[in-house]
């Protein structure tokens, strides 16, 4: 399952994602643990690669019997819990070894949880510091079909060796599938001549130019206006701040006589006709306002100039 690799690699997770299956019927042949285990212990072992299948009699912790839905509560209700209590077997293991899990658990540190929250546009958390791995991370998401964050409980930290920095995000598979999808989208490639970004032009600026028919080249824009090649280059000041905009018309094999403010420069058998504006004079880059008008104005000036074929 690529989801696990993808998420672990992106977050830098030490442990496997843990898949949990809540079975209402006992499969034939199950391999039972050699001793009674707490559910949080099972999860911790699964995070390290073990697959564990437990029946009611294998669970060492009375609270988990209730929260995981092996039995109904007797005197007072306990929440969160899986109800009605029809669970016969709980199976946990590294996600790549659990087919069609009901719940997935991720053991994270705060930094990793923060990143998940930011990728998923927020994470909800409801926890009370008790019955955490079984209730808050497993039963609650199971019943509500929503993710939850838990800061674990004393039992988990004492008996299952969770570290001070560990917390768990539990959720239905759909949650983790979406997370994985968003992670993949983050690392989309940028096609460039060297695999690197060649400029820091903002997407908004690129979009403004696209709207008037100009495509981004390396760090400039190209397009045609009335059949004439037009290039637009955003000049920076000596500190790298975009300060000017140059409209540039390269003409091959002709001589051009043009008046100020047009600048004419020879470059081999090319003649460049260009005009530079201060930004804000007539053009707003972010909205694209004034751009088209400026280009048309220059083109008119060029066509008014004397063009002599060579």
């Amino acid at each position: 399952m690529m989801i696990m690799e993808n998420i672990r690699a992106h977050l830098g997770m030490k442990y496997n994602l843990v898949g949990v299956k809540i079975l209402k019927e006992k499969p034939v042949d199950i391999e039972k643990p050699t001793r009674k285990l707490r559910y949080c212990e099972m999860v911790r072992k699964a995070a390290n690669g073990e697959v564990i299948t437990a029946e009611h009699e294998d669970i060492a912790c009375p609270n988990a019997e209730v929260t995981l839905g092996f039995v109904e509560p007797v005197y007072v209700d306990i929440q969160p819990r899986i109800s009605p209590a029809e669970t016969k077997v709980v199976k946990v293991g590294p996600l790549d070894k659990i087919r069609d899990p009901d719940i997935i658990l991720a053991i994270l540190n705060p930094r990793q949880a923060m990143e998940v929250a930011s990728i998923m546009d927020g994470l909800e958390a409801k926890f009370a510091g008790s019955m955490a791995v079984c209730g808050e991370a497993t039963a609650k998401p199971y019943m509500e079909k929503k993710s939850n964050v838990t800061m674990l409980c004393g039992g988990a930290r004492t008996f299952a060796d969770f570290r001070d920095s560990d917390l768990i995000v539990g959720g239905p598979p759909e949650f983790f599938e979406e997370l994985s999808k968003r992670i993949s989208a983050l690392s989309k490639t940028c096609v460039a001549l060297c695999g690197c970004k060649t400029s820091d032009l903002s997407p908004r600026i690129i979009e403004s130019f696209r709207k008037i028919g100009f495509e981004k080249g390396t760090d400039y824009f190209f397009g045609k206006v009335d059949g004439t090649n037009v290039r637009i280059y955003l000049n920076k000041d000596t500190h790298g701040k975009i300060k000017y905009i140059t409209v540039h018309i390269p003409l091959r094999g002709v001589e051009v006589k043009a008046k100020e403010p047009l600048i004419v420069k020879k470059r081999g058998n090319w003649t460049d006709v260009a005009m530079t504006f201060g930004l804000g004079e007539a053009i707003d880059l972010n909205t694209g306002r004034g751009l088209k008008e400026a280009i048309m104005d220059i083109l008119k000036k060029v066509s008014d100039s004397k063009v002599i074929a060579r």
Binding site: T198, G217, T218, F222, N229, R231, G240, T246, P250, G268
Partner: protein, 381 residues
């Protein structure tokens, strides 16, 4: 599938043209059995560093390299990037919070080497579209603005446009101001004549697999006696319990840079490289003729300076971009159509811009390349 896909293709990838290995050399390496074993240079290593081996004579070869490029001492490295790292490392020790002033067309390996050593890179501006030139005055202005950069770097021929930086003029300024000066010649050393003394350079960084007709990874760092003691300083570490010392090892090049097959290859290619450098003018003539012919095909224009003084060519190609928009294979059509015609080297997926080189190609091969572009240009019709 591990097969080599481009045997007998004409390669026009500018990255690769200077690194084509002469057939006589590849044959020799294969026939003699140099590929038999990984550490193939270590049979007769006595002193514990590959650059000191005399059978085959690596030591002498490295002095020849130093002399050929007008420097005093040379060490081989894991590519030009590792040579640049060694320089940045040295600078970071001399000026811990120093600022590196670089031209704005540097290769990423320059910036990464600085990043590895915690140095900040400040760039001088270029002239922008369409020439993107690095001008002396703007570099000097920036040097003055910074005050005293810890290092000035010029990318001799830049990997974006193939412009030659004003390396000599900047060298003069650096010498006057006593600012350490590195010229990154990955794209020039081994194809055109270079003398680092003429450039007043303290460090010259080179790439064997890029421009010295060799397999890789291999590069060289050439420096002066003034700097060699620092940049090639021997190990001073001494672990506490054994008290061992590693006195022949040079930390800045990982103790010993191994060399292996790439170094054997570069040594074999060197006589050929020395000869071909003499024909640089012919190559430049051919290149400028090729530029004109390309531009004759239609809506195509060279970026960068003209006349062009380097073999890397960067064209803007609206002609191909227009075709790509309607083509089933979109931006991929161009590289793929060229490959169908036995020509490999255009970046896959790009059609607005192409970079290529005809360095070292025969007239006949250049015609084939042009013919192929012509055919592809007519696909729209």
């Amino acid at each position: 599938n591990l097969s080599y896909r481009y045997k007998d293709f004409i390669i026009i990838n500018p990255l690769m043209r200077g690194g084509i290995v002469p057939k006589s050399v590849t044959e020799r390496l294969c026939d003699e059995g140099w590929l038999e074993v990984g550490y193939n240079l270590c049979h007769d290593c006595i002193e514990g560093r590959s650059s000191l081996i005399t059978k085959p004579n690596v030591k002498e070869f490295l002095s020849e390299i130093a002399v050929f490029f007008g420097g005093d001492e040379a060490e081989h490295t894991f590519g030009c990037r590792a040579a640049q790292f060694a320089v940045m490392k040295t600078i970071s020790e001399v000026s811990p919070d120093g600022v590196v002033l670089s031209d704005p067309n540097s290769h990423y390996s320059t910036n990464i080497a600085a990043e590895m050593c915690g140095l900040k890179v400040v760039e001088s501006p270029h002239t922008g579209y369409p020439e993107y030139k690095v001008e002396v005055d703007s570099v000097i202005e920036k040097i003055e603005e910074i005050g005293n950069p810890a290092l000035v770097v010029m990318t001799h021929a830049d990997p974006y446009y193939g412009n030659l930086a004003p390396v000599k003029e900047i060298g003069k300024v650096c010498a006057e101001k006593e600012i350490p000066y590195m010229v990154n010649s990955a794209y020039t050393g081994g194809v055109m004549p270079i003398n680092m003394k003429d450039l007043n350079a303290d460090f010259l960084t080179l790439s064997a697999h890029k421009s010295m007709a060799s397999i890789g990874p291999l590069g060289f760092l050439v420096t002066t006696y003034e700097w060699s003691r620092k940049v090639f300083a021997l190990s001073k570490s001494k672990p506490d319990w054994t008290g061992r010392a590693f006195g022949k090892k040079i930390p800045n090049v990982f103790g010993c840079s191994i060399g292996g097959l790439p170094l054997v290859c570069a040594m074999n290619s060197f006589p050929y490289v020395k000869e071909r450098v003499k024909k640089w003018d012919e190559e430049i003539n051919k290149t400028n003729k090729f530029i004109d012919a390309m531009e004759d095909l239609g809506d195509i224009m060279l970026l960068g300076e003209r006349p062009h003084r380097h073999h890397l060519l960067h064209f803007e190609t609206p002609l191909f971009w227009e075709i790509s928009k309607k083509h089933r294979r979109k931006g991929f059509f161009l590289a793929e159509e060229m490959i169908k015609r036995g020509i490999v080297g255009l970046h896959k997926g790009l059609s607005k811009h192409i970079k290529l080189s005809v360095y070292g190609l025969s007239d006949e091969e250049v015609s084939k390349v042009l013919e192929a572009f012509k055919e592809v240009a007519e696909i729209s019709a």
